[in-house]
Each structure stands twice: as structure tokens, then as C-alpha cells.
């Protein structure tokens, strides 16, 4: 019996969230291959856009896949390579970052970046009573980062919340720590930090603790890393909430796709994962102690 091959192309584990992504993808691979004996899952990871395009070519030409699940490194540049896969007659599932031409995909599973910025901003507005001084730590200069930050800025427009400083922290703990140290030296009063990402937030927490200014501010990260969810659950005053942007979405996408391939199960065209605000009330629901992320 001919095996059905599903290719999965994701960015390499070059930062915490992507690490979680990798882990969930591999878990899903094991699970699905057990569940469907005639399904073969091939995961490839890429460090940059060019390599991801290469990977797609290889999946089609040598691995001869039947379906592709892809989390594009970046939207615009990956659109054409994915189109080529589609044109080769493969089923295409796009995860997280939408292509510039949505007509290519058969299935779209995604988080919502602008919404993430919005939810974060709304939470901060509420918590700060619409005024105060904040600093923003950004990710890596990419579209995703821009979407989040733009939505955030739009949402706080018109309030008395003032962004004192903004720097890239590359979705990285060390950079979060360094940038925050310097922000702390530079600004005598900071009411809140929007770190946008849990890895950055962890670095920020250490810097704030070191400066002994825990009482002065709170920190809002994002993604849903287990350490952060735990803090929220434990009512850590420094981390009153978190905004979900779960890397587990890749597993979901793989499962839906596999089910469709093997069982010919009907599917919706879009599954959008809400950027849920995690608070002490609902935190337990999003806590996965076994995940590495």
C-alpha cells in the first residue's frame, strides 16, 4: 500500500517560540505516525527564507510529498515557493503567517498577530488606568513584529500612556536582560514593560529584580511559555497576565491536515487561534508542564 507523505516545513529552533514549535511538530509527528500507519511525516527546518524555499523544492522533487504543512519564515517571500508546491498538485496548509496570496492555501491555521498587540495594549490600558510610562521591547525586525507593535501602538493611541523607549531584543532572553538593564538606568520611573514575548520577558524580569524595582512596574510578555503561565497562575505581581500565541498551533495544523489526507475528513478553510489573555483565573487551562516551552 502506498504511503501518504506529509511534509512539514518550519523555521529552525532559533528562539524560544520556534523551539516550542519544533517540539510540538515532532510530538505531532510521533503521534500521527502511530495513529495512521500509512502516513509518513517529514519535518524539515530552515534557518532562513532562502533555505526554506530550498526545503520546499526538496520536499516536492525528492521526498515526493502529498501534502505540505508550512509555517513560512516570512509571508511575502515564501508566497511563490508555496505556490509552486500548490501547482505541483499538493495539498497546502499554511500556519501562522499568511501568504500574500491566500488563494494558494487549502487550509489556514493561525494565531493572530495584530490581535496579540491589541489584546496586550487593552490589558495595559486597563491595568494602568489609561496613563503611565512604559517601555517596549521588540522582537526581530520582521513583519510579525511590526504587526504586533503597530496594533499595540494604535490601541494605546489617545491614552496617556507614554512609550519612553523602544528597542529590539530579538526574542531572546539575554538581549531582553541587557536592554532592560539599560532602560532601567535611563528611566527613573517605568510603570510597565511590554515585552511582547515570554523569552524577552524572562530577561526583563531578571533585570528588574536585579535593580530591585519589582514594586514599580509590571511586565507583559506573550506566547504562553509554561514558566510565564505558571507565574500568572501563582499571581506573581510582576507578571499579572500573558497573551497566548501558542506554538502548539503547528500540531493542530498537522493533525487536521493528516486527518483530511487519511480519513478524507471534511475541513474548514480557516482555524484562527485567538490571542487569548491569560489571567490567574484561566491560567491553569493553558499550563503544559511537559512542554519544553
Amino acid at each position: 500500500q502506498q504511503k501518504i507523505k506529509m511534509g512539514v516545513s518550519i523555521p529552525a529552533a532559533t528562539h524560544g517560540w520556534a523551539g516550542g514549535l519544533n517540539w510540538h511538530a515532532q510530538q505531532a509527528e510521533k503521534r500521527l505516525e502511530k495513529q495512521y500507519p500509512n502516513l509518513d511525516v517529514v519535518i524539515v527546518t530552515a534557518r532562513d527564507v532562502g533555505r526554506q524555499a530550498n526545503d520546499l523544492e526538496d520536499l516536492v522533487s525528492v521526498q515526493r510529498i502529498d501534502a505540505l504543512v508550512i509555517l513560512p519564515f516570512e509571508s511575502a517571500p515564501m508566497t511563490d515557493p508555496v505556490r509552486a508546491v500548490k501547482q505541483a498538485g499538493k495539498f497546502v496548509t499554511v500556519v501562522d503567517r499568511g501568504l500574500t496570496d491566500p488563494s494558494i492555501q487549502d487550509l489556514y491555521v493561525a494565531g493572530n498577530n495584530p490581535q496579540m498587540g491589541e489584546v496586550s495594549a487593552r490589558f495595559m490600558k486597563e491595568k494602568m488606568g489609561g496613563k503611565g510610562d512604559i517601555v517596549v521591547l521588540r522582537g526581530i525586525p520582521t513583519v510579525i513584529d511590526n504587526q504586533r507593535v503597530d496594533a499595540f501602538m494604535k490601541e494605546i493611541e489617545g491614552t496617556q500612556i507614554k512609550v519612553l523607549g523602544m528597542q529590539y531584543a530579538n526574542w531572546n532572553r539575554d538581549d531582553g536582560f541587557k536592554v532592560m538593564q539599560d532602560f532601567l538606568s535611563r528611566f527613573p520611573k517605568i510603570d510597565a514593560v511590554w515585552a511582547q514575548d515570554d523569552d524577552i520577558a524572562l530577561g526583563v524580569i531578571e533585570a528588574v529584580k536585579q535593580a530591585g524595582r519589582e514594586k514599580e512596574m509590571f511586565i507583559l510578555g506573550g506566547a504562553g511559555m509554561k514558566d510565564m503561565i505558571k507565574r500568572v497562575m501563582d499571581k506573581d505581581v510582576l507578571v499579572p497576565a500573558d497573551v497566548l500565541y501558542p506554538p502548539a498551533m503547528i500540531a493542530e495544523a498537522m493533525e487536521i491536515t493528516a486527518r483530511h489526507l487519511v480519513e478524507k475528513a471534511p475541513i474548514q478553510k480557516e482555524y484562527i487561534i485567538e490571542a487569548t489573555l491569560v489571567t490567574p483565573e484561566n491560567a491553569a487551562k493553558y499550563y503544559y508542564p511537559d512542554s519544553p516551552f
Binding site: T45, V62, E74
Partner: protein, 334 residues
């Protein structure tokens, strides 16, 4: 390793086979065998075509890097320059569509802009190294940061995308070809050929090697050392521009992450090919083979699903070391 000042004749067993000379080619052959074992599809024309087409960018850049390294320099800015030139090229072409309409002229101007930028960047690097008497490493580390941040700036932190009409016209430059050979492969072949001609057959090539061996001897041989080094950097810049010209139609975009770490890959290709990092001895064909090998390793890893993706780096590292170790066989036995 530095060239032994007084090499024992044993170094060059005039009888028989010079492993050091043919090493890169042997290692390539070994890799091809490995690929075929892993997955027979490996040898299909489609796959070979893909691999070679992909190699083109790094390969073309690495040809330029061979000159810089042979002349005793190093250029860390190539990846950032590629991103920057791609970005500017896209911005310029997009801006011109309005007035000129989407057509060949716009693309030609874009290509000229890329070439001009490559040339200018090479000049800047080269002048800082020669007139400023600075280590090439530091100069190009600096310009690397500069180019990368400039592209981030013009892209506003996001992605610059090529106007779709132009894209359609420009696209065949990457995806098209003649007689089943893609244009990038052709461009790579032409660049390598010209590079080899320059390296092996012209004065400039000789001078690069002479300067890399000893700047003093070069100077006392009436060689304009500064000019040759400058030219090597300019050549590198132009090679980057050529790579950009075939890269842009591929993905039609540029961002802060475009060309990340290409410098490392290009230098690795050069060194794997047998050129010495300290300069004085450059091998264009070795560089070509080195570049192909690097792409092949990625390709082979994609051909097998057997290994945890986390370990890709391990396999890559081991293959690179073993491949180079094999080709250094004779030297070790010396």
C-alpha cells in the same frame, strides 16, 4: 596552515596522485555517493538542477571571496550587502513602475542600481582597508552592521516586496533557463569561468596571490598593492550584486534577515575548496566545489527523514570536518 617556508620535497609526491589538489573533488564525489545511497532520487535531473540553482548565490559570492581571501583579506559584509542591495533594488524598481510602467527598462535600471551598489560597497570596504590601514575583518564587520541596519531601515523593520507586475516579468531570471539549464546555473558557470580566467590567467590573479603570500615582496615587485586589494574588494562587491540580481526574482523580497550568515557560508565554501585563509593561494574551482558541497549537505539532510531535525547541525558539522579531513590525507601523513 602556513606554507612551510622550505617545503620538503616529500610534500609534493611528484609520482602519483596529489590528494591535496584533488581533495575537494574527491570529497564532492564521496558526498554524491552518500546522497545516492540515502535516496536514489538524489541523482534525478530535477534534484541536481535544484541544488545547482540554489548554489548559485553563495557560489557567485564565494568566487568573489576567493579573490579577497587570496589577497590576504576577508569580507564579512557580503550577506548584509546582499540584503541591502536587494532592498534598494526593489525600492527603486517599485518606484519606477509608476512613471515607466512595468517592463524590461525598469528591471535593467534595477540591475544597474544593484551593480552600482555592489561596486560602491566594494570601494568603501577596499578604501578603508587600504587607505585606512585597518584589518579587513574589522572594516567589514563594521560595514556588515551598517548594511544590515540600512536595509532594516528602508524596509521599516518589515519586508520589501517587489511590485507584482515586475515580478512576473523578472521571475524567469530565476525560474527560467535554456536547454533545461536554469539561468542561475548559467550565471554561476559564467562567473566561475570568468573568475577562473582572472585568477589563473591574468596579472590581477597573480598579484592577489603574491600579495597574500607577502605584501613586501609584492611591493618590491612594483605591484600597486593598494590598488589590487581595492580591486579585489570591488570584485567581491560586484559578485554580490550579480548574486542579488538572480536572487531578487526568486523570492521577490528583501528584509532584515535576507542573506543572514551568507558571509560565513561563502568563506566556508572558499576554505573547503582548498584556498588558504591566510592568503597567497586561491582556487576558484575548489570554491565552486566547496559551494556545491555545502548545498548538497543540506539537500541530503532533506532527503532523509531519519534523523531528528535538531541534529541537522551535527551531521552538517561532521560531514564538513570529515570531507576536509579526507582531502588533507596526504598532508597528515607527511
Amino acid at each position: 596552515m602556513t606554507p612551510s617556508v622550505m617545503p620538503e620535497a616529500a610534500r609534493k609526491p611528484s609520482s602519483g596522485f596529489d590528494l591535496k589538489l584533488y581533495g575537494p573533488f574527491l570529497a564532492l564525489a564521496a558526498l554524491i555517493v552518500l546522497g545516492t545511497i540515502v535516496n536514489p532520487v538524489f541523482l534525478s535531473p530535477g534534484n541536481i538542477g535544484n541544488v545547482l540553482t540554489r548554489t548559485a548565490f553563495i557560489g557567485i559570492i564565494a568566487v568573489g571571496a576567493t579573490f579577497v581571501i587570496t589577497a590576504g583579506g576577508i569580507d564579512l559584509s557580503v550577506g548584509s550587502l546582499a540584503a541591502f542591495a536587494s532592498g534598494v533594488m526593489i525600492v527603486v524598481m517599485n518606484a519606477l513602475v509608476g512613471s515607466m510602467g512595468a517592463g524590461l527598462p525598469v528591471i535593467l535600471i534595477g540591475v544597474l542600481v544593484a551593480l552600482g551598489l555592489g561596486l560602491a560597497a566594494g570601494l568603501v570596504n577596499g578604501l578603508l582597508v587600504t587607505k585606512g590601514r585597518m584589518e579587513a575583518f574589522i572594516v567589514t564587520l563594521g560595514t556588515m552592521g551598517i548594511f544590515r541596519s540600512l536595509v532594516t531601515y528602508i524596509a521599516d523593520g518589515g519586508t520589501l516586496s517587489l511590485n507584482s507586475e515586475i515580478r512576473t516579468i523578472y521571475r524567469p531570471v530565476y525560474y527560467g533557463g535554456v536547454f533545461g539549464i536554469s539561468y542561475p546555473i548559467l550565471a554561476f558557470a559564467v562567473v566561475a569561468l570568468i573568475g577562473a580566467l582572472i585568477m589563473y590567467r591574468t596579472r590581477f590573479g597573480r598579484y592577489c596571490a603574491a600579495i597574500g603570500s607577502s605584501e613586501d615582496v609584492a611591493r618590491y615587485s612594483a605591484i600597486n598593492v593598494d590598488r589590487v586589494k581595492l580591486l579585489a574588494f570591488v570584485l567581491q562587491g560586484i559578485c554580490v550584486a550579480i548574486a542579488v540580481v538572480i536572487y531578487v526574482p526568486r523570492l521577490g523580497s528583501a528584509s532584515a534577515t535576507t542573506g543572514l550568515l551568507w558571509e560565513l557560508e561563502a568563506i566556508a565554501a572558499v576554505i573547503i575548496g582548498g584556498t588558504m585563509l591566510k592568503g597567497g593561494y586561491g582556487r576558484i574551482w575548489g570554491t565552486v566545489v566547496g559551494a556545491v558541497m555545502l548545498t548538497l549537505i543540506d539537500n541530503i539532510l532533506n532527503l532523509t527523514g531519519a534523523i531528528s531535525v535538531y541534529l541537522n547541525g551535527t551531521i552538517q558539522g561532521v560531514i564538513i570536518i570529515v570531507a576536509v579531513l579526507l582531502q588533507r590525507g596526504t598532508v597528515a601523513r607527511r
